[in-house]
């Protein structure tokens, strides 16, 4: 029983990170209408920037603020200098561009930080664990759970309760209409991409002490992010959160009783849900 409870905790912590990834990808895919294959690479860049920021500045918390902002800036540049030019060119070109970009970013990481993986320990006060009664649990994971949960909530709040959030949601629904209402749709695209990149970056930064850093770390995450988007429903933000948690918890519970299947279950859950609801959990299109 305590094993199951512990696994559910694990599932929530990883699920929150999956939700962050999925939320960012869902925003980009929903608003810009492009499959962002560089999302995993942005995740990796976030992790590496965190490690560097912590080493240079000597403070984890400043690093955690700076690193995802760096990724958001990178996202801004990518949209402004690259993707913007391809809106007219069609899906294939955007797809190729983001795919090429993911390779460039991964190789860039190798050039800057080297091909060998790095470990990054949690900050001093979050090392070790606490006894929760039913299980011993690492403090840092509890922190990730809370921090990622808070971020997901803030993003949701921004999208639901602010004026610009409403415009973004409208952009997902109907871009032409938003544009006709006199709103700068290009700016909206740039903001959406930067916000999506920010979420990927902070997911990477939060993950660094758990999974460490390696140039290929984004590849695993990219697949999961796409699963989350498909499962939650394209462009559906609540769906992305629910799907992230669902996958995280399913993976954890399966790993407790049938370890060999812990990776397969991600895709099995997706296939199962899509068979019943082809539009995803909360999707409408």
């Amino acid at each position: 029983m305590s094993l199951l409870a512990g696994q559910i905790l694990n599932g929530i912590a990883t699920g929150m990170l999956y939700a962050l990834m999925g939320l960012g990808l869902s925003l980009i895919t929903g608003i810009l209408n492009i499959p962002n294959f560089a999302h995993g690479a942005l995740f990796a860049v976030g992790a590496y920037l965190l490690a560097t920021a912590v080493n240079v500045l000597g403070n984890f918390w400043i690093g955690l603020v700076v690193a995802p902002l760096g990724v958001a800036l990178l996202g801004l540049a990518i949209e402004y200098a690259g993707i913007r030019r391809l809106y007219a060119a069609g899906h294939d070109y955007q797809l190729l561009f983001t795919f090429g970009l993911s390779l460039i970013l991964a190789e860039g990481i190798i050039l800057v930080w080297g091909p060998v993986g790095i470990s990054h320990l949690p900050p001093e006060i979050l090392r070790g664990g606490v006894d929760l009664g039913f299980t011993f649990y690492p403090k840092y994971r509890l922190f990730v759970m809370v921090a990622a949960g808070l971020l997901v909530f803030l993003t949701w709040l921004f999208l639901e309760k602010t004026r610009y959030g409403a415009i973004m949601r409208a952009g997902i629904e109907n871009k032409e209409m938003v544009s006709l209402l006199g709103i700068d749709i290009h700016l909206l695209f740039t903001v959406a991409f930067a916000l999506g990149a920010y979420l990927a970056g902070i997911a990477g930064a939060l993950t660094a002490p758990i999974r460490g850093l390696s140039p290929g770390m984004g590849v695993d995450m990219l697949g999961i992010a796409f699963v989350v988007v498909a499962l939650g429903g394209l462009g559906n933000l609540l769906g992305a959160i629910a799907a992230g948690l669902l996958i995280g918890v399913a993976q954890a519970i399966v790993a407790a009783y049938w370890t060999e299947a812990s990776t397969v279950v991600i895709y099995a859950v997706m296939a199962g849900v899509l068979l019943v609801r082809p539009q995803g959990l909360f999707g409408i299109r």
């Binding site: 094993l3 512990g6 949690p122 299980t135 011993f136 690492p138 999974r211 290929g216 812990s262 990776t263």
Partner: protein, 405 residues
């Protein structure tokens, strides 16, 4: 441009055939000896392939890219850590490039498939990895195993670990779910029996797993005296990191049974390495003349000392070249016969290729990692606690007949 006539098309066709067909024949007749390094640049072992390539190149370059007075043509292909890709690329290299000597790949599961190609195409195949089948149930005349037998590894690790920790009888195993993991797990359990070890849990995880919290939580729930992992590369690093995060190490010792050594250890912070015990096919402080020279040159070139991956590729290539020297020929059968029973004093120490199984009999290393304060420099990861070369006992030997050509 005038329209093409039937004759023109025939001419073009003949030209195309000539372009694609003749060079291969020409190449095959030339004097160079073609050796294929099948090293993964993509897939689960994408990070290892470039290291293998380094080691192999160094072994060839120290001979001036020549053997038997003839030039060596080294070609390398990316197997993608996939059986399908690896076998296809191997066949292409054999058919089109005239490669008769193949070294690699790194994944034991994939190597088993490549070994079948070697058998069918009648080319020499050298491999280093954790499956016992290449020199066991699926042995044949063309494939050779450089790594220690999984039995030798398990025996070295378990015996010497228990000598240092006689009370640590409750073991939890974490095993990579493919050929290598199964082989090593089997012998860890067999050798464990002789020490009265109780295996309180044994979980298998997929190759390329990055989310280890679930396995570690389960391991912690078993309250083991020891956690022993039988996995490799990124899997081992991710596992060790999470075992530390969950507060098992350094209280509970962690064993990496079959490790890359340097390449994995450097990825772990010194805190994570405390009370970590590492079994490996090579460690860079091995005090042999060949190792000293190799480590010095490698470190000069690449800063980091070599771990198992570049060392295996280096030593396998030297083994193959020694086979050419002994055979005084590049004829496949002659080289196979020369490799059978070949004795060398190489980087790991004395090595002998068992002619009956094609298993290399050689020492395996058990390391104990140093605490942060005890490290003399950044790369002073561990001490060699013991080496062992106990060969696979007859009752386990699955290679009953190596067969004919």
């Amino acid at each position: 441009m005038s329209t093409l006539k039937r004759r023109d098309i025939l001419k073009i066709g003949a030209l195309a055939a000539a372009a694609s067909g003749f060079p291969a024949i020409l190449r095959a007749q030339s004097k160079e000896i073609v050796i294929l390094g099948l090293w993964d640049q993509t897939g689960a072992f994408a990070d290892v392939g470039p290291l293998n390539d380094r080691g192999m190149r160094m072994a060839l370059e120290e001979r001036g890219m020549k053997v038997l007075g003839r030039p060596i043509k080294y070609i390398t292909r990316d197997g993608g850590t996939q059986a399908g890709t690896s076998t296809r690329r191997t066949e292409e290299a054999v058919d089109a490039e005239g490669a008769k000597f193949v070294i690699g790949p790194w994944s034991s599961g994939v190597a088993l498939a490549v070994s079948e190609v070697a058998k069918r195409k009648k080319v020499v195949h050298l491999f280093s990895g954790g499956t016992e089948d290449i020199s066991g149930s699926r042995c044949h005349r063309y494939s050779f195993q450089w790594a220690a037998s999984p039995y030798t590894a398990a025996k070295t690790v378990v015996d010497n670990f228990m000598k240092a920790n006689p009370q640590a009888k409750r073991w939890h195993l974490l095993v990579a779910d493919y050929a290598f993991g199964w082989s090593v797990e089997k012998y860890v359990k067999e050798v464990g029996k002789t020490h009265g070890i109780e295996f309180v849990g044994a979980d298998r995880h997929p190759l390329g797993e990055r989310e280890f919290s679930n396995y570690v939580q389960k391991a912690a729930a078993n309250k083991p005296d020891v956690v022993a992992m039988v996995n490799f590369g990124g899997d081992a690093v991710a596992g060790a990191r999470e075992i530390f995060n969950f507060g098992l190490t350094p209280k509970v010792p962690l064993i990496m049974t079959w490790s890359s050594g340097v390449e994995e250890l450097v990825q772990l912070a010194p805190e994570i390495r405390e009370n970590l015990w590492v079994g490996t096919n090579f460690y860079y402080t091995a005090d042999t003349p060949a190792a000293n020279a190799f480590v010095k040159e490698y470190q000069g070139k690449f800063k980091l000392p070599p771990g198992y991956a570049p060392s295996a590729a280096y030593s396998m290539t030297r083994m193959l070249l020694a086979g050419f020297d002994k055979a005084k020929s590049d004829d496949v059968q002659a080289v196979v016969k020369a490799l059978e029973g070949l004795e060398m004093n190489d980087i790991v120490g004395p090595m002998r290729v068992d002619g009956a199984t094609h298993q290399t009999l050689r020492p395996y290393f058990l390391l104990r990692c140093k605490a942060k304060g005890a490290m003399k420099h950044e790369l002073d990861f561990a001490d060699v606690v013991a080496t062992g070369d106990a060969p696979l006992p007859k009752e386990y030997a699955a290679c009953k007949d190596i067969g004919s050509f």
